[in-house]
Amino acid sequence: MRTILDGLGWLFEAENWDGRNGIRHALFQLLWYSLVATAVALVIAFPIGLAIGHTGKGRFLAANVSGVWRAIPTIGVVTIVFRWQPLSVWPVLAALVVLAVPPIVLNTVAGFDSVPGDVRDAARGMGLTGWQAIWQVEVPNALPLILAGVRSAANQVIATATVAGFVGLGTLGVFLYTGTRTQQYDVVAGASIGVIVLVLSAEAAFAVLQRAVVSEGVRARTPRRVRRAATVPVLSPHAP
């Protein structure tokens, strides 16, 4: 318990925030990498998820990817990538993106699957073109699961970026590593509190986003049982 308090003490100590090795820099890095990696992953993954979800093709492949993806240890990815390209952060960032793509794809597909069949049939039957059906009908109704996927991916990215502190990516993870090495457990405790605060803030932000963006009618809709196992919403282990 005392260590936790020491950790808080370290976190609140003003001088620890300054400088290249300071908390502010590390926090900023973590935020920056997380935002960029999540955004890039979204840009890549959403069209893929949309294509699979709307057309129904490629579903089998998508289902099998999730099992493999969950088994990947992020520390392994991070160390191997960094050993391969030690002088640059870009490969590690690319790894962050790649790890964040599956939850978005799978949840987007699940989101499209959750649009009731009669709604899709009515949309086509009334004369909406393919694109109109996607954007005016399917996406708004798939939104809860799509957002869940992005949220899951964001948690994944934050966690992996923290782990990447092990190879020197300048996030809060660095404090975890160096703090352990030097047995400064207050630093270690403080840094992990910082990570947790960041994650919970992100969760809160997503909750607000969900409220703002998802139509009231969709929130009120009783959730239908999703029949295909392949498309059960994917929970990310978010720091394998």
């Binding site: 969950r70 992100a202 394998p240």
Partner: protein, 225 residues
């Protein structure tokens, strides 16, 4: 669970001759995984029973589990360390138990809620009391969902334990840390391979056990219906 003293060390730049290292960590990793998943499951049962019996509890429970699940594994390990130790693997096992608990409670409750009303009413009509009904009717029928949750928990646990390497622990994770620091690439690859193969094997075991336990979901060959 403090095994640092007995840990063999990797020597040289080849895999041969270091199989004992791999085997040692695989055993350790497996032990942690099994403990965490079994314990998590055991704890999830009463928790879900409570959630099903008292619907008011569920939203609170759900919110709590979401928060715990969102916290990165590494941060969780660290925060458990002041109480459980900064140099042993106890915090990791406890954290993984917590994750398993969280995953399974969700799957359990959803699975139980999906049991059709007529079945429950029939059970009541035959004289099942609440606890026996839970154990004898609702749980078995919720099994497919439970098995899915167990598979998720098992695979996630295997990969998450290794994250402890950042703070000097973590089963097979130690091979990642060691291989990285001493620049022994083959050790990194060996660790990656071992982790993923272990995850796959344990996943298959859970899957097979699940199929054994739910004969009613298996396709019947040539049956006269």
């Amino acid at each position: 669970m403090t095994v640092l003293a007995a840990a063999p060390s990797w020597s040289g730049r080849q895999l041969s001759g270091n199989w004992d290292v791999v085997w040692f960590y695989v055993q350790q990793h497996t032990r942690y995984t099994i403990i965490a998943v079994v314990l998590g499951f055991a704890l999830a049962l009463p928790a879900s029973y409570l959630a099903v019996r008292r619907p008011a509890v569920y939203p609170v429970l759900l919110a709590l589990t979401n928060i715990i699940y969102a916290i990165p594994a590494l941060a969780l390990f660290v925060l458990l360390s002041p109480w459980l130790g900064f140099t042993n693997d106890k915090p990791i096992v406890v954290a993984m138990t917590l994750y398993t608990l969280v995953i399974l409670v969700r799957n359990l409750v959803e699975g139980i809620r999906a049991v059709p009303e007529p079945v429950l009413r029939a059970a009541d009509g035959m004289g099942y009391r609440p606890l026996r009904r839970f154990l004898g009717v609702e749980l078995p029928l919720a099994l497919p969902g439970i098995v899915a949750g167990l598979r998720l928990a098992t695979v996630s646990t295997v990969s998450l334990i290794s994250v402890g390497a950042v703070v000097g622990r973590g089963g097979l994770g130690r091979m990642f840390a060691d291989g990285y620091e001493r620049r022994i690439n083959i050790e990194l690859w060996a660790a990656l391979g071992a982790t993923m193969v272990l995850a796959l094997i344990l996943d298959l075991i859970v899957y097979a056990a699940g199929r054994q336990a739910t004969p009613w979901t298996r396709r019947v060959r040539g049956a006269v219906l």
